[in-house]
């Protein structure tokens, strides 16, 4: 029973996507939406039932094995599913958030000629994501891993008449593909060493220390590269902001709530491997920290609403990687869940705003929208405060607080006698939290407060409002299931995810909690000082390179606080990692052109020279055949003499 349900969870969205693709253009818009939403809701209901079953059953996990994929003498891989608390949390997030976003999309995308294609890709995405989450075998998971990348490509380039969208889609796919190739190498290494990619077997092999430490380090490092690319972390971060070219529901589902968190999920699933390689954990934490800070700086200088949210996603994923780097994967997963709630909410709000202001995405051309769309503004406020981590009231607070406290207590291994204290990371993470609050408050104040600059029309339909309401509720109260010890002794989430290993009850000082809660409020206050008053201190324009002007009489308080904005915004404006990667790509391009020309020259020359030599030889030969009798006679005589001479001499 449970096994059938488990396979149906994946099969139903897949079937829906096949139906939608095959029916291309022959179904009415309503039917398309109904099929897609129906499939996802069935999937969601089944996963809820499964949650109940798993909870009531004594066994901690559920295994389904379908068939053997490839088997050779010393390696075998199969297609099968495992449902354990970890994957249960993920499928609940994917299906339920996915369902809300699908509902929203039926109205958002209504009337688009490519509706069937859109929902076909979306349901295919959900199916691949569920496959990724549920697979019991890493190679089988790789199917889902690439499948979500493909759907992401198709959806970013959904409006394909715009060349920029296509370029963004291609960029996203190719950058993540680089990571995938690294990951494939990691899998190959693991497969060779452990002769299986079955997750359980792998974990047992590693616990029994049957794999050499160097092989393990290399394979985890390679897998880490794959996850970094998928989750848009530092060297690979540049695809995610461009990916916002896709329809907004896509951005909400794929590029905020689920696909980009696949990397986090994978590392959480393989945490035994990663905890066995402390150096990789440290690398992970460093990359996460750098990313969370730099991406927050970037978000501070964007003028496009969706790009702000995209950079914010990168930054929040950085938090998750930092949490994974401490080795406490439950913490990362908790933040993953709350992030899925509030970021999906923010994107859906952004979509609702954008449709109502006639596809204007520039926050400097909006303003005063609070009066005309209070509902959306409140929903956005719920998401924004949750993202910033406003204390007590929001889900984001609890998860971020958990990350901060675990980072404070953690220590990072560099070399046998060199251990890095977590305090450094904590400081940067705190600065990131401050910036998060600053940029999202800036965004809120510019969009909803101040003077109205744009003409707004229409009404947000009910089908779009319901998901916003549900997600607002989750973004505010979804975090209550896990609280710091200082507040209340609630650890529902971590106990559910991993009953065997409860979080180490950290005896954190109370001031840590206070600082963690106070920083976002400070950030919001600062944002209010800069942008919130009737005459804002900072006048920004949508031209990104120009630094913002200050209003002439600068209040003293604001003048003192200005560097708090100036420095990070300078960092964001001179986006160093992006410049670096652009430099690398220019270099590659140059080399490519050079090599192509070099090759062309060589080949042209060689073939030309060969041709010329042949032609010369040909002419020479032709010259001897001139048809003159006397010429031939002379040759005969000469040949005779020569052969006589030769015979005589020898």
């Amino acid at each position: 029973m449970a096994e059938i349900l488990l396979s149906l969870v994946v099969v139903i969205p897949l079937a829906a996507s096949v139906i939608l693709f095959l029916s291309a253009g022959r179904l009415s818009g309503f039917l398309i939406g109904a099929i897609a939403c129906g499939a996802i809701s069935l999937s969601a209901i089944f996963s809820a039932i499964l949650a109940g079953l798993l909870h009531s059953q004594l066994s901690p996990s559920l295994h389904v094995f379908f068939w053997e994929w490839m088997r050779t003498a010393d390696f075998s891989t199969g297609i099968g599913f495992t449902l354990d608390p970890l994957s249960l949390v993920m499928i609940l997030i994917v299906t339920w958030v996915g369902l809300l976003i699908h509902l929203y999309a039926t109205r958002y995308m209504a009337g688009d000629p490519g509706l069937a294609r859109f929902f076909g890709c979306m349901t295919l995405f959900v199916a691949s994501m569920l496959l990724l989450v549920l697979s019991s075998d890493l190679l089988c998971m790789f199917i889902g891993w690439e499948g979500v990348g493909l759907c992401s490509y198709l959806l970013i380039g959904f409006w394909y008449t715009e060349p920029a969208n296509l370029a963004a889609a291609r960029k996203a796919f190719i950058i993540t593909r680089v990571g995938d190739a690294a990951m494939l190498c990691g899998l190959l290494l693991l497969a060779t060493e452990a002769s299986s990619l079955q997750v359980d077997t792998l974990l047992q092999t590693v616990t029994a220390a049957k794999i050499s430490q160097s092989a393990l380090t290399f394979s985890t490092l390679l897998i880490l590269v794959g996850t970094l690319a998928k989750s848009a972390q530092l060297p690979f971060q540049s695809w995610l902001p461009d990916a916002m070219a896709g329809p907004t529901p896509t951005s909400a589902l794929i590029h905020a709530a689920t696909m980009v968190t696949a990397g986090i999920y994978l590392i959480a699933r393989l945490h035994v491997l990663f905890t066995a390689t402390p150096l990789v954990l440290t690398i992970m934490a460093v990359v996460g920290t750098l990313t969370l800070f730099l991406a927050a700086c970037n978000a501070l200088v964007q003028s496009d609403l969706k790009r702000i949210l995209a950079w914010s996603t990168v930054s929040q994923l950085g938090y998750m990687f930092l949490a994974l780097g401490t080795g406490l994967w439950q913490v990362a997963l908790f933040h993953l869940m709350t992030h899925a709630f509030f970021k999906a909410l923010l994107f859906l709000c952004a979509g609702a705003i954008i449709t109502r202001v006639h596809h204007e995405q520039d926050i400097f051309r909006m303003g005063g929208l609070f009066r005309t769309m209070p509902g959306i503004a409140l929903a956005f406020l719920a998401g924004a405060t949750s993202l910033a981590g406003f204390p007590l009231l929001t889900a984001g607070f609890y998860s971020k607080e958990l990350i901060l406290s675990s980072v404070w207590n953690a220590s990072f291994f560099l070399a046998p006698d060199l251990i890095l204290s977590g305090h450094v990371f904590w400081v940067v993470a705190l600065a990131g939290a401050f910036l998060t609050s600053l940029y999202i408050s800036r965004c809120f104040l510019l969009v909803f407060m101040g003077k109205a600059k744009t003409h707004e029309s229409g009404q947000t339909p009910l089908l779009m409002a319901i998901p916003l309401g549900c997600l607002s509720f989750l973004a505010l109260f979804g975090g209550m299931m896990e609280m710091p010890d200082a507040l209340a002794h609630v650890h529902l989430f971590t106990e559910m995810v991993d009953p065997a290993h409860a979080l180490p009850s950290a005896d954190e000082p109370l001031w840590l909690l206070l600082v963690g809660g106070g920083i976002p409020v400070l950030g919001a206050l600062l944002a209010w000082i800069f942008w919130g008053q009737r005459n804002p201190v900072l006048h920004e324009t949508s031209d990104e390179p120009a630094p913002p002007q200050t209003s002439q009489p600068v209040p003293i308080l604001a003048a003192c606080l200005l560097p708090l904005f100036r420095i990070p915004s300078w960092l964001g404006r001179y986006d160093f990692p992006a410049r670096l990667s652009k430099g690398v790509s220019i270099l590659i391009n140059g080399m490519n052109t050079f090599a192509l020309q070099f090759r062309a020259c060589i080949f042209m020359n060689v073939s030309h020279q060969t041709l010329m030599t042949l032609r010369q030889g040909n002419l020479l030969m032709a010259y001897t055949q001139n048809g003159r009798v006397r010429w031939y006679a002379a040759w005969i005589a000469g040949g005779l003499c020569a052969s006589l001479a030769l015979a005589g001499l020898t």
Partner: protein, 497 residues
């Protein structure tokens, strides 16, 4: 009653019927096409019969047929079938059926000759996959090439003569090397044992000095490498594929290239295992170069067919890598990769041909936005493009993974570099998809027709096969391993002695 000689002869018979009836005015219009279709259907039935016919004898060889041909020289008309040949035959027949159904019907000028040549090629290919007498093998090898030359000359595109000459010189020149090698092997065997024979199973036991076996192995290797193609001798392929008529491209890419891989497995690996062992590092390197170089050049093309042709070079580099990893896993991977490449690249060439028929251009830059006008063609094209890009779950990935896995245990470094080919594969495949199917649509006056349901169902079969190959390759993996040359069929023992 034996299906093997019938398998070889039926296409030839079909070809001669077409040749004869071509004079009659009644069959001018689509008579040759219909006869070809009937011949191939008959061939399909024969193959079904051959597949499910219980083997009468023990051993890994499924079927056997032999009659003396030129007794004084020990030449026998000998055909044997094992899992490898059978899977290649299925690929051949299915792909040529799809190709004939989809692409050759509209051919109007001397359609009879065209179809006769096509059938002759198919017959040669079938013979190549079955022959176990070296002389017979060479005969079929040549039979396969000559009709392709005429197909190219007669029905190709703008630069056809140059391409045809290039193709002919490369394949014919290298074929002569193989003839030399065959004669060398036979003569050595004659000197050693006093038996003059061209029999594969007898010659497999010829004692050879290391130097000689290396030389003979290279003599076999070079023609197969030209056919596969391996990088330094690949130059004929892009031109030929680009200039060939659609059916020619499909047959060439889908089937004829596989004879190279098949020959490497059947002849190099089985006849000279020890020389192959020594040669393997260099061959692996060649394979790696092929993967990266082919993919890199594919990224730089703007002609659809040329792009696909270069991508073939890259994919077949994996085949080479798998074969010369000299392990069962690599071999299985190479076979899966050959089958998957046949299906996906064949499909891509069908798509490219359909586009050229409709728009009269192959330039990626001028084509664009086909999704709007031809959603079916575009979605099929997208499917084949992502298959050739190596999305897991489709056939190509299964092959590539097995090959990489086998290579990894030989040399992780080469395997890592080969995965670079996968990244480049995504670059060129997406270039194709972005440029042709997506992109803003170029303004076109004439309306174009999409694939109709019948064509879609044929392509659907190809796609389903790719999915099956990708998700459940295990039966084919266990089934299609080549049978060792040392174990002969029971009734071949008395024949050879």
């Amino acid at each position: 009653m034996n299906a093997l000689p019938a398998l070889v002869c039926v296409p030839l018979a079909g070809a001669s019927i077409i040749w004869l009836t071509d004079r009659l005015p009644a069959t001018r219009r689509s008579g040759p096409w219909a006869i070809t279709l009937m011949t191939l259907t008959l061939e399909l039935l024969l193959l079904l019969w051959a597949s499910f016919q219980g083997t009468s004898h023990q051993g890994p060889w499924l079927n056997h047929f032999s009659i003396p041909w030129v007794p004084p020289l020990g030449i026998v008309f000998r055909l044997d079938m094992d899992g490898l040949s059978l899977s290649m035959l299925w690929l051949t027949i299915l792909l040529s059926l799809a190709c004939v159904l989809l692409t050759t019907r509209h051919i109007r000028d001397s359609s009879g000759t065209f179809h006769a040549l096509l059938l002759a090629t198919i017959s040669g290919t079938v013979g190549t996959f079955l022959a176990t007498d070296l002389f017979l093998f060479f005969f079929f090898w040549e039979l396969m090439l000559v009709p392709v030359f005429f197909l190219l000359c007669g029905w190709g595109h703008e630069n056809r003569y140059r391409a045809a000459i290039k193709f002919f010189l490369f394949t014919q020149g290298s074929g002569l090397l193989m003839l030399l090698s065959i004669l060398g092997l036979v003569i050595i065997n004659f000197q050693e044992t006093g038996i003059l024979t061209f029999d594969y199973f007898v010659l497999a036991n010829t004692p050879l000095s290391p130097l000689l076996s290396m030389l003979l192995m290279l003599g076999f290797f070079i023609p197969f490498a030209v056919k596969l193609p391996v990088v330094p001798v690949h130059v004929w392929l892009p031109d030929t594929h680009t200039q060939a008529p659609t059916a020619g491209s499909v047959i060439l890419a889908g089937i004829l290239l596989k004879t190279g891989g098949y020959g490497m497995i059947r002849f190099n690996l089985m006849l000279f295992p020890e020389a192959v062992e020594r040669f393997a590092p260099y061959a692996t390197l060649l394979g790696l170069i092929g993967i990266l170089y082919g993919a890199w050049l594919a990224c730089a093309q703007s002609d659809i067919k040329r792009l696909i042709a270069y991508s073939s070079i890259s994919h077949l580099g994996f085949v080479m890598l798998g074969i010369f990893s000299v392990s069962p896993v690599g071999l299985q991977g190479a076979i899966i990769q050959m089958l998957a490449h046949g299906l996906s690249t064949g499909g891509l060439f069908i798509i490219a041909g359909a586009i050229q028929d409709r728009l009269h251009t192959r330039d990626i830059v001028t084509i664009g936005g086909l999704w709007e006008s031809m959603p079916r063609l575009s979605s099929v094209g997208l499917f084949f493009a992502i298959a050739s890009l190596g999305i897991p779950g489709l056939g190509n990935f299964a092959g590539e993974f097995l090959v990489l896995f086998a290579t990894w245990s030989v040399s992780p470094f080469i395997a890592i570099l080969a995965t670079g080919g996968l990244i480049l594969a995504s670059v060129y495949s997406l270039k194709l998809v972005n440029g042709v199917f997506l992109a803003p649509s170029s303004s076109r006056a004439e309306p174009v027709s999409d694939f109709h349901a019948g064509q879609m169902s044929i392509l659907g079969i190809l796609m389903t096969l790719l999915v099956i190959l990708g998700l459940y390759p295990q039966p084919i993996m266990t089934f299609s391993l080549p049978s060792p040359a040392t174990i002969t069929t029971s009734n071949s023992g008395k024949n050879a002695s």
